[in-house]
């Protein structure tokens, strides 16, 4: 009865989209912070290879965060 009144597909998609967006943004941005924090520590410890790896992690996280937000905005504007 309820399923015929309520558009469960839209509700389900809302739940999934909200969870994926918030979890994804938090994870990728946390990677940015992790990368930046380790970059500073490794550079100070004179470990250039580890510092470069941490820097790459930070940049990757930043790209993924920006891309995720941009994708979300494009989806919002497309309807």
């Amino acid at each position: 009865m309820l399923a015929t009144i309520v558009d469960t597909t839209e509700l389900w998609q809302t739940v999934v989209a909200a969870l994926i967006a918030s979890l994804g943004m938090t994870f990728t941005f946390s990677l940015v912070i992790l990368g930046v924090a380790r970059l500073a520590d490794r550079a100070r410890d004179d470990r250039p290879a580890a510092a470069a790896g941490a820097g790459l992690l930070a940049v990757t996280g930043l790209v993924l965060t920006v891309a995720g937000i941009a994708l979300g905005m494009v989806v919002m504007l497309s309807k």
Partner: protein, 366 residues
């Protein structure tokens, strides 16, 4: 001529409602950013006002839901819309007076539904739309934001927990500029659209727009401006009372709460669900708090949200119906809305003067 006077009164009342919506909700949007020192109060309020304005242009799905899925278009007259708005404003003021939790969004929809019932009966209420597009999403969305808040704070702590606290705190504060901006954007797009939907309903009822017409651009601009001005104006009062009202949390929690709230509101807006943004943001904040330490959360807030959810729609509907009945006493012309508007303005002025003398803070509704 009489119809045009009523229409002008309806549009002005709707924009006034939108202004108060922004005024009340500033605290929800900026509190976490200010609490964690991610932004200064002045910057946070200005930033939120601008993004509220921009957000109103992102989507029109919620406006379409309010205009088409709640009540039968044929049952709507400008006087019905006016009575619905009066019902919503009166309920918001009443709950503000008694310090009860309230949702402007639910009050608005309840007011319109009540006025329609008083005008033409229950047959004109689209029960499926009210249940499927308003009631169930209203309960589901804060729950989703809560769950997202719990999970995201654990992700944030899990990924960055072994690093030195200084860079992590600074990093999440920077992140809060983005997550706080997204929250303001989400608030603007969902809340401003409710006013757009109501004004569109009135324009269709007046014959100014065709039944299948979309939301006119001037309606979008004026609703966006009203909510942004309300946010900016409300912010200065919030800044003055900030010392006692903010929630204590760290920057990772602030980021998680804002991200969870923004994602939930934006996803719901995309599908046209008119939410209580206050309830969703509260859900995100409680989730981020519970994810760190369950006992740190004021669980009474969850009960308050449930009470507000159960009470607001029927109560606003009852006041909307009474407002329609009272307005109709003066006939079909503009006399009823003019008299009720003047009485309402007088009542609102008296309430604010009384409260200003008492120095009471402004509660948040959404």
């Amino acid at each position: 001529m009489s119809e045009d006077v009523i229409l002008v009164i309806v549009v002005a009342t709707a924009l006034a409602f939108d202004f108060t919506n922004g005024f009340h909700d500033t605290a929800n949007v900026v509190a976490t950013s200010i609490s964690t020192k991610a932004m200064s109060p002045r910057l946070a309020v200005g930033f939120a006002a601008i993004l509220n304005f921009v957000g109103a242009f992102i989507s029109l799905e919620v406006a379409a839901t309010v205009a088409n899925d709640v009540v039968e278009g044929g049952a709507i007259t400008p006087t019905v819309v006016f009575a619905g708005l009066i019902g919503a404003i009166a309920w918001n003021l009443l709950t503000w007076w008694f310090g009860l939790p309230s949702s402007s969004s639910h009050a608005l929809i309840g007011g319109v539904v009540g006025a329609v019932i008083a005008a033409v009966g229950t047959g004109a209420v689209l029960g499926d739309g009210v249940l499927g597009k308003v009631l169930i999403p209203a309960l589901l969305a804060p729950t989703v934001a809560f769950v997202a808040g719990v999970i995201t704070i654990n992700i944030a702590y899990g990924v960055t927990g072994r690093e030195r606290p200084g860079p992590v705190t600074r990093g999440f504060r920077l992140g809060q500029i983005v997550s706080g901006g997204l929250l303001a954007l989400a608030h603007g797009t969902n809340d401003a659209q409710k006013t757009m939907g109501v004004i569109t309903l009135a324009l269709i009822a007046n014959g100014t727009l065709a039944e299948d017409a979309g939301v006119p651009f001037w309606v979008v601009v004026s609703a966006a401006t009203a909510i942004a001005l309300g946010t900016y104006t409300g912010g200065w009062r919030i800044i003055r009372t900030m010392g006692t009202r903010i929630i204590k949390m760290d920057s990772a929690q602030g980021f998680s709460a804002q991200g969870a709230g923004a994602a939930t509101i934006l996803a719901s807006t995309h599908f046209g669900f008119p939410l209580s943004t206050t309830h969703v943001i509260t859900g995100g904040v409680m989730g981020a708090g519970a994810g760190k330490r369950v006992s740190a959360v004021r669980w009474g807030l969850a009960g308050n949200i449930l009470v507000a959810w159960l009470l607001t729609l029927p109560a606003a509907a009852a006041i909307g119906a009474a407002a329609y009945g009272f307005t109709s006493l003066f006939g079909d012309g503009a006399a009823g809305p003019v008299i009720v508007s003047l009485l309402s303005l007088g009542g609102v002025a008296a309430i604010f003067i009384h409260r200003a003398r008492q120095g009471s803070p402004v509660p948040a509704t959404g």
